[in-house]
Symmetry: C2
Subunit: 479 residues, 2 copies
């Protein structure tokens, strides 16, 4: 069992200042309040402030300049190298990673563990109160309808709202071309069913979210891993080569903020990707579940926005930004819309009625945009905090991604470090992480781990420190 | 558009008396109140009562005995023959019935149609108020948890409640052997995935619920139709023969109240079935979604109750008795439990959280038993009313099932009548029915229809009358 003692006074002061630094009150290079100022304003002793500042120094957040004071350090994370472009998977592979993924989900509901494993959204960043207020209202207004079937394609007002939001990012979806699903996972299942038969080859990014690999496994499909850049996503060049030499039935990408890379296919490359696939008449399955959680200035486009033939199947959900427990996702399957509606009916009849009403209402008048602005800011900050912790506590030769959205980090550990060993060691120490094995059917990433950066707390900081120690230990161990 | 005018006074009086007859206040053979008594007690004219009694006579519910009064007629429905045992399907067949089933579901949400098609529960027989009260409470108590993932196997308190109910009917299920699913449909999908690979043969009852046939289709499985008795379900003898001569990978039955037959495999035959399958080491997938809606004295057992090896996968849901829109089902997969949990995770990550809490709470303290007693009575009555309407309005050579539970009827029409023709004709006339084609991959039932008996109203009565006319017309048409 993990113990998370109450932080001491100097730790609290350090954390408070760290937060101000993260949110830009004190940007890189700025001078932070002097020891004396802090002592006076916060009514603590000089020696406590010195302790706090020393902690921040050791965390690499500030630096002392002689005769001048303390300053925020610049661009810390760029000192770490990014991972390289991933290698091509060898042969198309039947996928099997299930024992490990079941362990990860067991961990995810274990309150004794510091949660750096499963990519759960931060519970504090879900609009719980608003959703529950809407739910109470909808229940009153639609008492009986809430308990009747809402057959595919699902609630019309919800599909209309989804189409309207898609339009904002330049993507034209008719409400009648959307099918409501049980989360993004079912949407991907439906897309695969719609275009693949058992034994078919599906080209994917590498690394790739394990849920997707499992969807391939269940349907008896083979994954062909395409080299993937840690910032720009799937290599279009490598994919072009693969299309020429393999009977690829479909391509599956998380175009905006691949899980675990946080990569984003640049919008012009998206257009190129769609064009390439059109030449080979291969459908694209696009997973956009994190698309709204971008850290840049504007919503990146989806590949679907460049789809002129109805051959891109756009899949998404509200699990990351509105509610994980409400289980509402959707698919805009283009030419395969009728097939998708039939598949939804066949796989789970329909999605629950009340949750559809609640999400529709939230999208229509619940302040979704304001909510999104807030969580984008918070997730960007937490990703930065966790990145800094990697820099501080992990060996200096680790590699670290620089996500442009979402809330996960992908860390390349020294080659000697086996991520499954580390997983076990961490688990015994009250921490859960996601070992690299689950992100590739050909186990290309034995020394990588994915970290969930959705929350950053004092417990996270301490967990990262201990994790760093374990990594050092494993790296130093005699073979 | 169908017009459903307000019933006239004499019709109301007739309906009221008919209801009393159905619920046994006036059992077959009993004398009903005299014309004069009714006139006095209900404060209507003698001539209105005479009109009402004449209507009941024409409906075949009562008969006048000279000098004595009016009496409830006996055993009306038994004048119609039951369907025969179904024939064996020829070769194991790849299934495809989708256009038709999509039409049926479109019809199901079309308020202009009299709903005799899709097997929807009667909205008036769902405990809507109670569920919504519980939902409001749960939302207050678990405001945040409602929006977090509840990973497979799902909410523990719900699994415990399900296990406790199963125990009442003699079936021992550990809560840890149950996985919560998105309705019964997903439970069946999971069971099939757990034991079959594409191309495998699954033996099923015939006729069989089209949703099951579609689940086979999606997974590339072949259905082998086993002769099925309209009251006793799948023929064990025929199945034994089939097991000897075919590489059957799994057997799938709706043991209690097959849809569309309403048949029930007698409990001793269930034991025999499980024993037979054990000898061939073939798993049984048992769909028990209507098991609680029995018309007899006690809950029939499930095959699972006789399972000593963990080879029966029991699938059920609360869609028929508690809420269709809440989408909560479950599977007790025996030896395949771990596989089932993994499959649930892979197919839709998890089921929505709040609905799981609500069903758990309703089962624990919501008066489930009392509710079930009520709906059993109502469905039994509505099935009887619809059966009587078949007797009154359909040609006398139709065949009709005598369901022992559930709320559907299966009607064999004269051979000349094509059920798809009738479907189209009925649809044009504002009525939807389920044509026999969707219940067999080898289209064994072209002249059968399934009728949903969940509701019986004045509009139903009139629709049955018109349907009878159409059947007569099609039967009389020159070829």
């Amino acid at each position: 069992m993990l113990s998370t003692p109450k932080p001491l006074l100097y730790q609290e002061i350090a954390d408070r200042l760290a937060a101000l630094i993260r949110q830009g009150t004190y940007p890189p290079g700025a001078r932070v309040p002097s020891v004396r100022q802090t002592s006076e304003h916060q009514d603590v002793s000089i020696s406590t402030v010195l302790q706090a500042y020393s902690l921040l120094e050791s965390r690499g957040l500030i630096e002392a300049r002689p005769q001048s004071g303390y300053y925020v350090r610049r661009q810390l994370v760029e000192r770490l190298r990014e991972p390289e472009m991933s290698a091509a998977g060898r042969d198309p592979s039947l996928v099997s990673v299930h024992e490990l993924t079941m362990m990860l989900l067991d961990d995810a509901v274990n309150p004794k563990l510091v949660q750096l494993g499963a990519a759960l959204p931060n519970p504090q960043l879900l609009p719980v109160k608003k959703l529950n207020r809407i739910m109470a209202n909808q229940m009153r207004q639609h008492a009986a309808e809430a308990h009747q079937y809402l057959f595919p394609p699902g609630l019309e007002s919800l599909r209309t709202q989804i189409a309207q939001r898609a339009a904002l990012s330049g993507c034209s979806l008719p409400p009648d071309g959307i099918v409501i699903t049980s989360g993004g996972v079912e949407a991907i299942d439906i897309a695969l069913h719609a275009v693949c038969r058992p034994g078919d080859i599906v080209a994917t990014e590498s690394p790739m979210y394990f849920g997707t690999l499992q969807a391939l496994e269940v349907q008896g499909l083979r994954a062909l891993e395409i080299p993937t850049h840690p910032r720009d996503g799937m290599s279009i060049e490598a994919l072009a080569f693969a299309l020429e030499h393999n009977a690829i039935r479909a391509v599956l990408v998380i175009s905006n903020f691949n899980n675990p890379l946080g990569s984003m296919i640049p919008d012009d490359k998206k257009r190129e990707l769609v064009g390439l696939l059109n030449r080979y008449d291969v459908p694209l399955i696009e997973n956009d579940v994190s698309g709204e959680i971008y850290f840049g200035d504007k919503r990146p486009q989806t590949c679907k926005a460049f789809d002129t033939r109805g051959s891109v199947m756009l899949c998404s959900s509200f699990s990351k930004d509105i509610s994980a427990g409400i289980r509402i996702g959707w698919i805009a399957a283009g030419r395969k819309h009728a097939e998708a509606a039939w598949l939804k009916q066949t796989l789970s009849a329909c999605s629950p009625s009340l949750p559809q009403m609640v999400v529709a209402e939230f999208l229509e008048g619940g302040g979704y945009d304001q909510h999104l602005r807030r969580i984008r800011r918070e997730y960007a900050r937490n990703v930065e905090l966790l990145s800094d912790a990697v820099l501080r506590y992990f060996p200096s030769d680790v590699r670290l991604t620089r996500p442009s959205g979402g809330f996960v980090l992908w860390v390349g550990l020294p080659e000697k470090v086996d991520s499954l060993e580390l997983y076990k060691m961490a688990h015994a120490g009250g921490i859960t992480i996601a070992p690299g094995y689950v992100f590739s059917p050909t186990q290309q990433f034995p020394n990588f781990i994915r970290l969930n950066a959705a929350e950053f707390s004092y417990a996270t900081e301490r967990a990262m420190e201990r994790l760093g120690g374990m990594i050092g230990e494993l790296a130093a161990a005699q073979p």
